[in-house]
Symmetry: C2
Subunit: 124 residues, 2 copies
DNA sequence: TGTTGACTTGGACCATGGTTTAACCTTTAT
DNA sequence: ATAAAGGTTAAACCATGGTCCAAGTCAACA
């Protein structure tokens, strides 16, 4: 089984090493293995979990919730419903955020169009 | 011309008064008028500008950039191109954000589906 | 007249999400 | 043996976006 060092993991995920250590400290990377020298070893499984962390972080889930989610994963089957519920709620949040951003696009376009017109008038 | 007090403005925009004062302090509400007692008076024009501030803030433009944009508005015609450029870039940012969030939806759906299946298996 | 309610201020405080620092520990290559 | 490369830690520091507090002003009403 291949293991990645923290620098390899960081490079693969395109994220600073310091951030990975910070996530570990915050409990976002449970069950992370260490070698004899105490260095973090990222297994393929860990890399997959890390991808999940990054997905949740990029979709603006707070660190504290990501920690809770990862803790539930470690707990196993008993927390399936909790995780399902959390993901469903999170999906709704993401959809709402997309809707909000999309909803503002016309207002932004309006300003762009107005400035274009005004610039045109200025030069004519 | 109708003027709104800070509490009315706050209520209309559904935003705390403290945040409005904070925005003013940060230079996001230029040209705001005051009555004899020093109280802020929001004209219809100010309310429209405030809507713009809220639009930009909700679409994640940093306070410092919003301040720059508002300062350009005050400067007038000479800054039309700068404002146009800023809005175009901002629109691209918003589109990218929408794309990123949308791009993560399948990963979230996958988790939801997986949990649903696992729960089904558990009860069968 | 006094007190109530809405407003003002500067500055302290807070939460979030990292980033930096300083001192230290292992391998490995020279 | 020693230095460079890559890793460790706790704790301090930072930026962002507010939020809260104490002390004061002002207008109106009992």
């Amino acid at each position: 089984m291949k293991y990645y060092s923290i620098s390899e993991a960081a490079a693969l995920c395109n994220i600073p090493e310091t951030t990975l250590r910070y996530y570990d400290k915050k409990g976002l990377l449970p069950l992370i293995e260490r070698d004899e020298a105490g260095r973090r070893m990222f297994s393929e499984t860990q890399m997959a979990l890390l991808q999940t962390v990054i997905c949740l972080k990029n979709t603006h889930m707070p660190i504290s919730s990501i920690r809770q989610y990862m803790a539930w994963i470690v707990e196993g089957e008993a927390t399936l419903e909790l995780r399902l519920d959390m993901m469903r709620k999170h999906k709704q949040k993401v959809l709402q955020e997309i809707a909000m951003l999309t909803g503002y696009l016309p207002a932004i376009d309006e300003k762009i169009d107005r400035y274009l017109k005004q610039l045109e008038e200025k030069t004519t």
